[in-house]
């Protein structure tokens, strides 16, 4: 079974530029999560999708971050314009909607550096 795929693995941009990350969840997983992990901290949920609907985006800085999950499969997270404090690892995870306790499987992450 293929795992959660993410690309790119690394990205370096200047502040005020835009960037996009892509995630392809495990086949059949209805729920998809984007987490932000700042150096020295644990991951923090940015947004959760169930199929192509948003379940929780309360921690997403909506003035600069956006995310979509068209057709309920893969997802894109965008930052525009980027700030220095957006430097972090962006992790994507997916889970089934059945089977307690909806174990989350993580991708390898994208390390973003904003200069």
């Amino acid at each position: 079974e293929a795992g959660v795929a993410q690309s790119p693995r690394y990205k370096i941009i200047e502040k005020r530029q835009s960037v996009a990350f892509w995630c392809n969840p495990i086949s059949g997983h209805a729920t998809l999560y984007w987490y932000q992990q700042i150096l020295g901290q644990g991951p923090k949920l940015l947004i959760q999708f169930q199929n192509n609907g948003v379940v929780d985006d309360s921690q997403l800085p909506k003035d600069r971050f956006s995310a979509e999950r068209l057709k309920g499969v893969d997802s894109t997270l965008k930052i525009q314009p980027a700030k220095l404090e957006d430097s972090a690892v962006y992790l994507c995870a997916s889970s089934l909607d059945r089977g307690v306790p909806y174990e989350q499987y993580f991708g390898p992450g994208t390390r973003l550096t904003v200069t």
């Binding site: 644990g42 949920l45 995870a93 993580f106 390898p108």
Partner: protein
Amino acid sequence: AQTVTQSQPEMSVQEAETVTLSCTYDTSESDYYLFWYKQPPSRQMILVIRQEAYKQQNATENRFSVNFQKAAKSFSLKISDSQLGDAAMYFCAYRSARKVPGTASKLTFGTGTRLQVTL
């Protein structure tokens, strides 16, 4: 809101020895799940062990076991017979067990403990 605290930024253990990583959490809920994740330098979060709050028996997975103290809100991880491959960041995480449709099932993580394994 739930919080997870890991008070040990770094720990070191000799190969073949045993080490215990600490985690405390705060919640007003009675039904929830607790997890330990391992994050090696490759950055991929790997589930090590899971504990359901309604179960009194401590979870075990091969060399990994937990000491779950629900009243004290404590959830420590014990690694026995440590191996070089155990070196990584370890994160304790909490998830609500509420089953309300459309409710977020997000994980709340602690700040992590970096485990070094020496020869």
